[in-house]
Symmetry: C2
DNA sequence: GCCACAGTTCATCGATTGATAGATTGTATT
DNA sequence: AATACAATCTATCAATCGATGAACTGTGGC
């Protein structure tokens, strides 16, 4: 029997991993947030619900650009939307998203201060 | 003076946002983790340091594929690496990364169970 | 219905991305 | 130096991605 000791091959096996579906969901969430333009929108919405033109005015990007970004975020369920008259209001889907954002922003700020 | 009340334009302004550099860093981290193949590696490394061949054996992917994925993760500082003889060992860069992963996996699992 | 406003969608395009086979580099032993 | 093993790099390619202008859709007031 070959006792080939490739690195730590003699050590413990990997613990249980997430099902494929969970992994895909997690990756999709991270990927959706992983664009600077979209991440900025998420950040802005941490402070509360806003309509599309407010977001566009603040960022200086076109309505179609903002709309395209919001579409991605909503399709991955990072955002929710409601309509009031002519206006569409977007907000973070839940507190998990907020916590995720807080964590990564803190970490990024820490790294940038080095 | 135009008192055009576009949605909540009469409401409060946006609070302070992160500097551009912080935003870019945060987005880069999220993006690096936001690929299923790379995210799986991160997940595997949550349980501790592993060498490249262990990761390749477990996932069933080729060495060059694993190496390419690790390269992205390390360049965005999600992973650290050390060499011991012929072997390169990879591990999560710090506990922030672990927390980020935990948060997003829990959220994804929750969504997948609905 | 007409008009105005708010927002989305569509088609297009250049840029980016992830996988891959094989060449190359780094470490260890003899 | 020769050989073996571990891992990285390179070049290539098909697929995906984000921005964009303009057409289109939805809501509201008259």
């Amino acid at each position: 029997m070959s006792e080939s000791l490739d690195c730590n091959h003699d050590s413990t096996a990997f613990p249980a991993v997430s099902p494929e579906g969970v992994l895909e969901r997690a990756a999709a969430i991270l990927r959706a947030a992983g664009d600077p333009g979209r991440l900025r929108l998420l950040e802005l919405l941490r402070s509360g619900e806003r309509c599309v033109t407010e977001l566009a005015d603040f960022t200086g990007d076109s309505l179609s650009t903002i709309s395209a970004r919001l579409r991605v975020l909503r399709s991955e369920r990072l955002l929710t939307r409601r309509r009031e008259g002519k206006h569409q209001y977007y907000s973070l889907a839940d507190h998990h998203i907020d916590e995720l954002l807080q964590g990564v922003f803190e970490h990024a700020a820490e790294e940038e201060s080095k």
